[in-house]
Symmetry: C2
Subunit: 219 residues, 2 copies
């Protein structure tokens, strides 16, 4: 059985290229594991929630396991074939550490800003709260830049940790915020220049291209 | 070499019992792995940040690896001895999924409320924002309660996923919020009634007991 993931059949334009199945797609491309995509109209249905309690995408399914949480899906794919995890257990533990650091120590600060600027932009508290949100995010990015130093990736070689961290950094406003950390900006660009990411991104965007443009985009 | 973790020599009273080394301590107790604790005055020093980029505790060190991120530390401890991960790879992937679900899909909503009620309680936006924060947290808890259903733990047996989820749920206001989800409340109490948690909690609290009471508490 070819592993499958779910994603949305349709998303609004601002989300295209950023739906979280991009993380699983990227992991499949890095490891060369074939996969297919099942489309859902909504993630809030009881049928979908049976696999994803929080009503989100992606979910993952293969012969052995059904999973949700993009971080766990990426780690599971990474264990099926070389490409995203070192062979030695300490290196694997460090890659896992960076996956969790991205998801628990960086992404919540990015999400705070996206919430202020997008999802709750109309709420009266968003504009007054924004400077504190930006300040907290900048502190995290400064810490992350210090940890990266002049290294190419967070550890010795590109790993699942870099994959998830790059996905998180893609949602940081590039000019206003990320540009102040040139090594992080270069790191993000280095990660997203990888052929596996370009392929994953093109495949997600092709799905959401208008029907009459779809052949052109996927060509 | 006995594995070691770091934690703070002193924390304010409201944090006692909730410093994140509790997660590592609990994992050590569940697996029966001996450990010792190194105390730091501050996590913001360059020396500490060399091991923990975000200036937090705990960090972990053994003969093979140095790690930060409590979720990654718990998973690493869990791989050293039975007690927190099933033997089969699919079961391990699901336990990891619940670790990440707790850290990325539940904890940020809990942290939002703690921020509003504690860390930024004096900010003008906190009181106006609070109802939306409570509503979002309640939605997540409802989803989690549905996923738990009438099961004893999130998967077949107590795992690292339950350990981290219980630590996250401990920070949810019990009477105002958690009591509306009786199965979650019972789940939390079932997790924290485990002898391994009681030992971990007692050990953390003993560290912060006033010097003249310390002998009594640790006796």
């Amino acid at each position: 059985m070819t592993p499958s993931i779910t994603t949305f059949r349709w998303v609004p334009p601002f989300a295209r290229g950023h739906v979280r199945d991009i993380r699983a797609r990227w992991a499949f491309e890095e490891t060369g594991v074939a996969y297919h995509v099942d489309l859902v109209e909504s993630a809030k249905t009881p049928e979908h929630r049976a696999f994803q309690p929080f009503g989100q995408v992606p979910t993952y399914r293969d012969d052995t396991v059904e999973l949700f949480e993009s971080g766990a899906i990426v780690l599971h794919i990474a264990r099926q074939a070389p490409g995203l995890l070192p062979a030695d257990p300490p290196g694997r533990a460090r890659a896992e550490q960076w996956v969790i650091a991205a998801l628990n120590s960086v992404e919540p600060f990015v999400t705070d800003l996206v919430t202020v600027d997008l999802f709750q932009a109309d709420k009266p508290w968003s504009s007054t709260r924004r400077p504190a949100v930006v300040e907290a995010l900048r502190a995290r990015l400064g810490d992350l830049a210090a940890a990266l130093g002049d290294k190419t990736f967070l550890d010795d070689a590109f790993s699942a940790g870099d994959l998830i961290m790059a996905c998180v950094l893609r949602s940081v406003p590039r000019n206003e915020i990320l540009a102040a950390y040139p090594t992080l900006l270069a790191y993000l660009d280095r990660c997203t220049a990888r052929p596996a990411f370009r392929k994953a991104l093109a495949d997600q965007l092709a799905l959401y291209a208008p029907a009459d443009k779809r052949a052109e985009v996927t060509a």
